[in-house]
Point group: C2
Chain length 181, copies 2
Amino acid sequence: MDRRQKKTRNAIFSAFTDLLRTESYSKITVQQIIDKADIGRTTFYSHFETKDDLLKSLSQEIFDHVFSDDLDKEKTHDFSQNHGTGDRILHILYHLQEHMDYLSGILSGDGGELFMDFFKAYLVDLFTPSVRSVTRSAPEDYILNHMICDFSETIRWWSRNPQYSPDEICNFFLESTPISE
Amino acid sequence: MDRRQKKTRNAIFSAFTDLLRTESYSKITVQQIIDKADIGRTTFYSHFETKDDLLKSLSQEIFDHVFSDDLDKEKTHDFSQNHGTGDRILHILYHLQEHMDYLSGILSGDGGELFMDFFKAYLVDLFTPSVRSVTRSAPEDYILNHMICDFSETIRWWSRNPQYSPDEICNFFLESTPISE
DNA sequence: ACTGTTACTGAACACGGTATTCGGTAACAA
DNA sequence: TTGTTACCGAATACCGTGTTCAGTAACAGT
């Protein structure tokens, strides 16, 4: 990839995440991103079709990292052994913490929906096994939706209360959501 | 109130809810509402400051009805006796069912946030007693947020799966959310 | 029926944000 | 060195929002 392209793409991403730290997604204009990244208007639109497209790309980058299966290569924590749902949740929380500062800007406001849709697509895989093992009169689809919502909302709550550790958050979540393993 | 005002206000509301049956809130333009209600642009803006304001007013009307305490006056169902949290939930579900057809248009999309904020304000009162009786390591605020999210998402799910009765939905909710009474 | 008030009308307008176009410049890779 | 590719930025079309204003129609009270 062309050095210039990389540079520009990086500039856009970091301008974007910078803005997200102080402003919610929906209030950020393309012009602000352009100014902060110090690039031409045309350049922005040659990299991303729309602002939503940029958010999608950013989400993609975050999730590619967060949900990567290279659990052993991680240094901040060690999950080289058992990979049950609980462990995977904790693993995800550890990763998300790294992005927490600007995640709140995405989650609060309308942009949250776009991000969340993305998020949920990943969470479906995570929670489907748990749903199977829970026997309730409610339809599987309801339970799954319920778990995903619980987790999403936990993240959202965490972004507003960042003083808690991933382990604490994980416990909060597990004790208030019916996941039997 | 002036007869003309009432007529206009009604025309706006019914045009709005009509549109909500086929389109999500964020995609509906003021012009569409104006055309469907067959009123002048100025008239719309003399009734409501913005589109969001209209949604707020509609939400207000819905909730005034749904959360009214005149439980005994209702004819579709009878809750003249015990008013525990479970009963109140069922009561609310019965009322919401009447608005289900256009509620989905509000809930899906960005407008959901605005409506939900409103909704949550009412739900806080509903769930606070339950939170108190639940002993968990998680902070009260987390639990409360969790319950409200569960309920909101249940409504959302219901709007996508309208074949279920209020009683069934109530059961689904109660069995998957930790409400000890 | 008259009169003052209030509500509705609709075209025109200012504004802000989005996304595109285009001619020109600078950086790259071979 | 040369052809390609990326970047620049001003100008522009577009769309939706919300306001203005002069004129018309409906209302309520006497």
